[in-house]
């Protein structure tokens, strides 16, 4: 027992030691505050620590206290509007019209209506022919209203109101900011048997205990022969937050790392693009619904087209077809291709890369991109106007459909998705086209991630100048990111809720 008490004393923090002596006689927290000169938070904290050490029992009661609110405080100084109105009526020699009374008292519309209503209800006045007539004796009118008395009596505990006070409370609570109810905690405390013993033993342990070790103590060795206060190693400590990358960027970095490991080169480009590169170069007919303003962000501007040779070839692919294709057979318009848009997919980067490769002798390579794309979309939990896509192309004479599936399988395996499947799909610029799905074991569900395929000759030949199979894919990243971070609402991606950003788990696939 003695040993236990000693140990407890060793572990008492200065705060606890400061409070403990007063617990025997103090009646409430306020008294402790006065005695110790600590603030309320510290005292409450100290009491809780002592409770954890079983030195004191606490009984926390919540009380609802009625206080004057902003207007209440004001009215306490300058009277309730009904009092002011009544005074104006009393002072006036003849009955006032409503307008006159309102003007005299300088009331707001709202205040005046309420004051008038209150006085009518109390049967102090009556309004006849737009004139206010006094219906009460002067003495009666001079007496304090119940509401005034109530207001002066505040703060009061809601539970302990008299009938009369309750009546006033109900009247005033409906009015604008006269009174408000605040919840206050009242803590009752009592020393336990153990607490009393500790308190008795406390003075005996005269010896000074070391709190924080200081450089001086180390230098002088003054710690020798003294005791270190024991910490409560289980007590809660305040949270700290470090600097972090945004979780989307963490994921993007990870994806980039995978492509680099797989030997791909990074493609970069602008977010604004001409329709030519975003659509026409990708064999998307000029009347294709995806090109409508309804789906794509347009910017009022006229862009420039690349060198004539490429434009001519793209035009021919659309109008009459190239490399044995029939083409879409319509009149292709330059104006349409010059329109400026926010890119709708990173595939536009692949188109540009192919055009750049056409100038090289060795038209071969593996390229990737990760980037923000846009669509004219509403904003709710399932929709957003910006999204992230990752893009890849493999330009190789020997590339085939099985390789396409192989690259995708390997990429998603590295992304942590062991199970992947491919379904037929449709895109204007690939044939065959593939829809990629990965299996999410936790939800026993397939997650649709987007498209892939082999670029059509109508895309490759005009850009590259010859037919070489180009494997291409552009799955969305957001669904994977949302799945990993368990985000249900798409808006959370870019809402930047700092509290969440500080705590979001680290991207570890």
């Amino acid at each position: 027992m003695i040993k236990e008490i000693d140990n407890i004393i060793l572990s008492l923090s200065p705060l606890e030691k400061q409070i403990l002596p007063f617990l025997k006689d103090a009646k409430n927290v306020e008294e402790i505050i006065t005695e110790t000169k600590l603030d309320e938070t510290s005292v409450t904290r100290g009491l809780k620590f002592l409770e954890a050490k079983r030195l004191v029992t606490l009984d926390v009661k919540k009380k609802r206290i009625i206080e004057p609110d902003i207007n209440g405080i004001l009215y306490l100084k300058k009277n309730l509007p009904e009092r002011n109105l009544l005074n104006i009526i009393l002072e006036s020699a003849k009955p006032l019209t409503l307008e006159e009374a309102k003007k005299k008292g300088n009331f707001s519309e709202n205040e005046f209506m309420i004051a008038l209503g209150v006085l009518k209800n109390k049967a102090f006045i009556e309004v006849v022919n737009n004139k206010i007539e006094l219906r009460a004796s002067k003495e009666e009118a001079m007496k304090k209203f119940l509401e005034e008395k109530f207001l002066e009596a505040l703060p009061l505990e809601e539970e302990k109101l008299t009938e009369e006070q309750k009546f006033c409370y109900e009247k005033l609570r409906t009015r604008k900011k006269i009174i408000r109810v605040v919840e206050k905690k009242e803590i009752a405390f009592e020393l336990t048997e153990l607490g009393i013993k500790v308190l008795e033993e406390l003075p005996k342990l005269k010896q000074e205990m070391i709190e924080q070790l200081t450089p001086e103590m180390i230098l002088r060795g003054s710690w020798q022969g003294k005791k270190f206060r024991h910490y409560d190693i289980k007590s809660k400590v305040p949270e700290i937050f470090g600097g972090r990358r945004h979780f989307v960027n963490q994921a993007i970095d990870y994806v980039r790392q995978i492509w680099l490991e797989m030997g791909f080169q990074e493609m970069k480009g602008t977010l604004t693009e001409t329709a030519f590169w975003n659509f026409d170069a990708l064999f998307t007919a000029q009347d294709h619904p995806v090109r409508e303003m309804h789906d794509t962000f347009y910017i009022e501007a006229e862009g420039k087209l690349p060198d004539k040779k490429i434009v001519e070839r793209v035009k021919r692919a659309h109008e009459r077809g190239v490399a044995g294709s029939k083409g879409w057979r319509y009149k292709w318009k330059e104006e349409e291709a010059k329109k400026v848009i926010l890119r709708t997919h990173t595939t536009v980067l692949s188109a540009r890369t192919l055009a750049a490769l056409s100038k090289l002798k060795n038209k071969k390579g593996k390229f990737f991109a990760i980037g923000r794309c846009f669509r004219n979309e509403t904003l709710d939990w399932a929709h957003g106007f910006e999204f992230n896509q990752t893009e890849g192309i493999v330009v190789d004479k020997e590339a085939n459909f099985r390789h396409l599936l192989g690259y995708l399988k390997e990429f998603f395996r590295r992304m942590g998705h062991e199970k992947i499947r491919f379904r037929p799909s449709y895109f204007p610029y690939t044939e065959p086209s593939v829809e990629i799905e990965v299996f999410i074991p936790e939800r026993n569900q397939w997650l649709e991630l987007g498209g892939a395929g082999i670029l059509r000759p109508e895309v490759v030949v005009p850009l590259l100048g010859e037919w070489i199979p180009v494997l291409a894919w552009g799955p969305g990243l957001d669904r994977i990111i949302m799945d990993y971070y368990e985000i249900k609402d798409l808006r959370e991606m870019y809402i930047n809720d700092l509290t969440k950003l500080r705590k979001v788990k680290v991207w570890l696939k």
């Binding site: 970069k268 962000f297 910017i299 501007a301 099985r402 399988k409 930047n496 809720d497």
Partner: protein, 541 residues
């Protein structure tokens, strides 16, 4: 994207739905949206409008699972006397082309009428580009006197009772008052004359692409024979569309009859269901798909996708609109082969990965700032009108017809940062934030007329000029760049506590303490210091 809903009962008369079939349906290239007791809903991609009707879908799917492989053939009867449509010169400037057919011996019930209307709507909204490119009209033959004339008239000379109405209206009244008229009025905008189909008795059948006549253009359960027309601007497209429709009606049990189209001296006969002959090369297909198919296997696979194959020719059904090239046939071979039967293979090509230099530097900057305890944020590239007004940004570029309040491309990163701070006044302080992002401004010299620049913004709240300058100098030192501050005036910053950042004589950014009036406007309660700098500063020359 078109979602078709087939009645489950009808569907299961031919194909029993179970897990395995559901899988097969997806692998046919028609993902299952849902299946319940009453319906099976499938997604039909825009390249296959020929699958939009129940019976044509079932025939194609049965072939796919090997039950009725090969090219489907239908009897096409020659035009009977008066099966003619005379196309007047007057339509040339308004809606120059039509392709027509007659179908006989159909049996309509509620279900089928609904199906026909549904197919019509689906084709209108996909292939037909909302009736702009193709408008389809279907009429009960018994109400019509052949031959038919397709002509253009002045709007005041067009008067008939439109569908679902019981009184006569003029063309202009229809466009102003009829719900369908209002919806598609824009398609006739600015035209002096409107196209109409008129029968031999002078009765107006319809005014494409708007609406049919209630008297002559409404299919009922009593209807057995029908007249179909597709009108638009490209006869080839219309012929294909007509082929799809007559194929679907034939699948419902109807008999196809051709019609003579008199385009002045030029005569056409539609529909023509002769399959198109395309030469393919087995080696090409094997190379593209990474397979080693034999002729016999290829034939089998092609037949399961509804083709006929007589090496080296593929006979493509006349209702397929998506076969532009050999690769389109290759895809169908792959689908028949089964995407799930392909063995994925990663070729061993040794290539070297290459990290974009700028991306690498951006990451290094982010790492340094994180080391200093900064939190990275990431925001939209668009700002709202309200934000633009608060920032007094007159030169921000607007996107057209945004569906949200986000309408302007940001031309600096302050708006995004202030928005973040404003939405986080209840989060714990200090808030030390940064963002790396793109900003936009007009520049005629650029390809898109817009110059994009990558910038870094840093914010410390509560924070002061000194603290921000420390961060700047830290970054400058580590990246070995020389920066110099010059006193400046900047709208959101306090005068005397604002500086432009210079690097190699170039103004690359701005640093300052935010003015309390700005803080108030954004409902911020804490002092704030910000820095914005062009990332080019950090990139090696």
């Amino acid at each position: 994207m078109a979602i078709v809903k087939f009645p489950r009962k009808e569907f299961e008369k031919y194909i029993k739905i179970d897990k395995k079939i559901e899988e097969k349906i997806a692998m046919f290239g028609t993902p299952v949206e849902y299946i319940d007791e009453n319906e099976i809903a499938l997604e039909i991609f825009p390249n296959r409008p020929d699958l939009l009707s129940l019976h044509s879908y079932i025939s194609s799917f049965l072939a796919f699972i090997g039950k009725r492989p090969g090219l489907r053939e239908y009897i096409v009867n020659k035009p009977e006397p008066k099966y003619e449509v005379n196309i007047d010169r007057s339509v040339r400037d308004v809606r120059p082309c039509t392709a027509c057919a007659i179908i006989k011996n159909l049996k309509f019930d509620d279900e089928k009428i609904r199906e026909v209307i549904d197919i019509q709507e689906k084709i209108h909204s996909t292939l037909g580009r909302n009736r702009k490119k193709i408008a389809i009209g279907i009429y009960p033959l018994e109400k019509i006197k052949l031959p038919i004339r397709f002509e253009a008239r002045r709007p005041q000379d067009i008067k008939f009772v439109p569908l679902d109405f019981d009184y006569e209206m003029t063309a202009l009244e229809i466009l102003k008052q009829h719900p369908t008229g209002k919806k598609y009025a824009h398609l006739l905008n600015g035209m002096k004359k409107f196209p109409v189909f008129v029968d031999a008795a002078g009765e107006i059948l319809s005014m494409p692409p708007i609406i049919n006549s209630n008297r002559t253009g409404k299919i009922t359960e009593k209807t057995r024979d029908i007249f179909i027309e597709c009108s638009g601007f490209d006869l080839n497209v219309l012929k294909k569309t007509l082929n799809i429709l007559v194929m679907m009606f034939a699948e419902m049990g109807g008999n196809i009859y051709q019609m003579k189209l008199n385009y002045g001296l030029k005569k056409e006969i539609t529909p023509d269901l002769t399959p198109e002959k395309i030469k393919i090369n087995l080696a090409n297909i094997n190379k593209l798909l990474g397979l080693q198919l034999k002729e016999k296997e290829l034939k089998n696979l092609l037949e399961r996708m509804g083709y006929r194959y007589e090496s080296p020719f593929v006979f493509v059904p006349a209702w397929r609109v998506d076969i532009l090239h050999e690769v389109d046939i290759a895809e169908d071979v792959a689908i028949a082969y089964g995407y799930d039967n392909f063995k994925p293979e990663m070729p061993e090509i040794a290539t070297v990965g290459e990290y974009d230099r700028k991306e690498m530097i951006k990451n290094r900057i982010a790492e340094l700032l994180v080391g200093l305890g900064f939190l990275e944020i990431s925001s939209y590239h668009l700002l709202t009108t309200e934000e633009i007004e608060k920032l007094n940004e007159k030169s921000a570029i607007e996107v057209e017809k945004s569906k949200t309040e986000y309408r302007f491309l940001r031309n600096n990163l302050f708006g995004s940062m202030l928005r973040t701070l404003a939405t986080n006044i209840n989060a714990e302080y200090p808030q030390k934030l940064f963002e790396i992002g793109t900003v936009f401004r007009k520049n005629e010299k650029k390809e898109t007329g817009i110059e994009e620049e990558e910038r870094l913004i840093i914010a410390i709240s509560p924070g002061n000029f000194t603290e921000m300058k420390q961060v700047l100098e830290y970054l400058a030192k580590i990246f070995n760049i020389n920066t110099k501050l010059e006193e400046a005036v900047f709208p959101i910053f306090i005068e005397g506590r604002t500086a432009n950042i210079f690097c190699n004589e170039k103004n690359v950014g701005v640093i300052g303490e935010v003015h309390p009036a700005v803080l108030k406007a954004w409902h911020l309660k804490m002092p704030l210091t910000m820095l914005e700098i062009n990332l080019e500063t950090f990139y090696p020359k």
